[in-house]
């Protein structure tokens, strides 16, 4: 750790570490009350949707994620404590360090989250959060059991540690970030005023992120500030004419929490063991989800390309014959009765 002095900018480092509460633990009763409130709200208004087995699985995954965090979080803490000796600065507990840590952590979260969708090793853990076909407050709690194992948390946190932010501060702002991300997992709120939607991550933006509509895939990775998506070209607004279909491109046919937790790991191991070369084995782990050597499965990029081709065919067809409807080869049709 960088040496602490009492002069100049690093004077802040001399401020004693505050006794920070575990705000995530304190928030849990609030989460439970809000889930119950949303269930009742949905029952009364029909604006939100819950299914009991889906709800139980989501909440069970959240509980398991907490347990895994208790068991494995210590390893991450030990590593980050060790890493802190290489910090470039000793930023300490100055007041300005708090908002700086919060914003920089959110910036790091954006990239880690984006990686969580583009690198199968991280997706294998993150897919759990997307595996519900519902989008409600219980979905927010559907979290991975294997996040620490993927080293994604360490990847997010390491650079803040290396900059010199105290570990306690990093943990605190990370908890604030997670708490912020809870409430916007809802269909009960349509949109906020434009100036809020322009800056903050909101239910509308995050609904897009949880959707499998080709237009919405790989978008809106933000945690708190949607500006990161706007800056780095991944922002997609929710459209009223394109209702969100939630889940993953190959939805799960089970509510079994163990299958939910490990299905992608199982698939990845099976793919690696069947790989015909070391290069293919590496790509099965690090390439985007859906990658195969022969293209027999689809990545999100392939799905989006297929959708664009279908849309182009519709446009061309309409241009050639404005009175015609949708061309047959791009529409759902079923002409004959069932056998």
């Amino acid at each position: 750790m960088a040496e602490t002095t009492t002069e100049g900018p690093v004077e802040n480092a001399a401020i004693a570490a505050p006794d920070l509460p575990d705000i995530l633990m304190w928030a849990i009763p609030g989460f439970i009350i809000l889930v119950l409130a949303e269930i009742i709200y949905g029952r009364v208004t029909g604006k939100t949707s819950y299914e009991p087995r889906d709800t139980f699985t989501s909440l069970f995954m959240g509980t398991g994620s907490n347990a895994a965090g208790i068991l494995l979080g210590g390893i991450a803490f030990l590593y980050l404590s060790w890493l802190s000796q290489f910090a470039l600065f000793d930023i300490g507990w100055a007041w300005w360090a708090w908002p700086a840590a919060f914003v920089l952590d959110d910036f790091a979260y954006y990239w880690a989250h984006r990686g969580g969708h583009r690198i199968r090793w991280w997706w294998a853990a993150h897919v759990i959060h997307h595996s519900s076909q519902h989008y409600n407050l219980s979905t927010a709690l559907r979290q991975t059991w294997t996040g620490v194992f993927t080293l994604q948390f360490i990847a997010i946190s390491s650079w803040l540690v290396l900059m010199g932010f105290p570990l306690g501060m990093i943990a605190f702002v990370k908890a604030m970030n997670l708490i912020y991300q809870f409430w916007f997992h809802t269909e009960a709120i349509r949109r906020f005023p434009p100036w809020i939607e322009a800056v903050m991550n909101t239910p509308s933006h995050h609904r897009v992120h949880h959707s499998t509509n080709p237009e919405y895939l790989d978008a809106n990775y933000a945690g708190v500030f949607i500006v990161w998506d706007r800056m780095f070209g991944t922002f997609v607004p929710e459209r009223d004419d394109e209702p969100c279909r939630y889940g993953i491109v190959k939805n799960l046919g089970t509510f079994n929490p163990v299958t939910v937790a490990f299905h992608e790991w199982f698939g990845m191991v099976r793919d690696v063991l069947s790989a015909r070369s070391i290069g293919d084995a590496v790509r099965f782990v690090l390439a985007p989800p859906g990658w195969t050597p022969d293209g027999s499965r689809e990545t999100t990029a392939m799905i989006k390309a297929k959708h664009r081709a279908a849309q182009a065919a519709i446009t061309a067809h309409e241009a050639a014959d404005p009175s015609a409807g949708t061309p047959a080869n791009t529409s759902a049709s079923a002409a004959s009765p069932a056998e």
């Binding site: 819950y50 009991p52 069970f60 049709s333 079923a334 056998e339």
Partner: protein, 159 residues
């Protein structure tokens, strides 16, 4: 020990919430009402899919639809108040069998939808679809398959 109490309390809380969800209702088990609706689900999930040849279980809990111009078969099963779809290529399944009562049992290598039983109660229809699913030639010792919707028979998705 404190952590164990916390986890047990959490388990009680989430069970209570799911029970409250079940007691309050507000959701309905979905069903597949027609081949058109099954194909629409497949088209939405797969971006493009069309079919004019398929079968819907009479209880609306599963459907199969052959891809037009291709050898693959779309599978739609209900999952609570939602649907789950798969596009099955010939030879992709572990097996597809027919029970003596005429149920079609699909066993996949996919742990997220390992087994689906479609209770067609018609061995001829079930055998025909089983053959198509595994990419084998259709049975030849039978009369032509009826093209009317199946009757009051059931299907069950096991996950």
């Amino acid at each position: 020990m404190f952590a164990v109490y916390i986890l047990l309390a959490s388990l009680a809380a989430i069970t209570s919430l799911a029970a409250a969800n079940a007691a309050l209702g507000g959701w309905t088990r979905t069903r597949i009402n027609s081949l058109e609706s099954a194909v629409a689900e497949l088209a939405a999930d797969l971006v493009t899919f069309e079919s004019d040849d398929g079968v819907v279980a009479p209880d609306g809990r599963a459907a199969l639809a052959a891809e037009r111009g291709g050898a693959r078969i779309g599978l739609v099963v209900t999952q609570g108040d939602r649907y789950v779809t798969r596009l099955i290529a010939p030879g992709e399944l572990a097996k597809a069998t027919v029970t003596p009562s005429g149920d079609l049992v699909i066993t996949a290598r996919d742990i997220t939808l390992p087994r689906v039983t479609i209770a067609l109660k018609n061995a001829q229809t079930a055998q025909s679809w089983a053959s198509r699913l595994i990419g084998a030639p259709p049975p030849t010792n039978t009369t032509p398959i009826e093209t009317t919707p199946t009757g009051e028979l059931g299907a069950q998705a096991n996950g």
